[in-house]
Amino acid sequence: MIKIQKKDFNPQIEIKRLSNSKKDIGAIVSFVGLVRERSKGKRLVSMKIEQYSKMLKKEIAKIEERARNKWKLEDVIIIHRYGLLKPGDRIVLVATASKHRKSAFGSCEFIIDWLKIKAPIWKEERSPSSGLWVKSRRDDFRKATEWKN
């Protein structure tokens, strides 16, 4: 299940939904990304998340499909928020469910790594004095492309 939304989500409720969806699940791994309070020494007031909505869901679906081809997964939840967020707010949830833990761990990390470099999302960090668009990191690109197909 993929959700793109402004509003917050409750990881516990989402994970419970995942574990209730099938009875053959032995492992769920989840990742929650949050807005940090400080960036490069500056205190953030907010983070604006911009998205290309018509492309975003398609791109996330492709990443999920790749993960499902690579690991045997029972279910997947990906939620990405957009709009104006504050430090401490949740940005993204990735939760993967499988029979055994290895597939759940691997696929969860794979999905978040690929969201970093493929999901059409841009973040603007707003401090009291300025707004700065977050730059993509070479390290994120390296990490995602290290996964073998």
Binding site: Y52, M55, E59
Partner: protein, 83 residues
């Protein structure tokens, strides 16, 4: 052709989308960027460095040298920072 702009490319140009009529010599994304740069100083500034411009054609990531057609929806943006 409909063109969408995102992130700092949008803020520098001062609009999130525009419709342009393509000249005949514009065959691919790179040609398109060169053409858009002639539309004014804001466009020229936002699009001056092709190394940091990424393109999507009809909601798919594509290389900047990919051919474009007049009915395509083109998006120009800096490298994404999802997750």
């Amino acid at each position: 052709m409909k063109i969408l702009y995102f992130s700092w490319i949008r803020t520098k140009i001062g609009k999130d989308k525009e419709v342009v009529i393509l000249p005949k010599n514009v065959k691919n994304g790179s040609d398109l960027v060169d053409f858009l740069k002639t539309k004014g100083p804001k466009h020229a500034d936002a699009l001056k460095n092709k190394k940091v411009i990424r393109m999507a054609i009809n909601f798919e990531h594509t290389a900047l040298n990919h051919p474009i057609k007049k009915n395509d929806e083109i998006a120009l943006f800096p490298p994404v920072t999802g997750g």
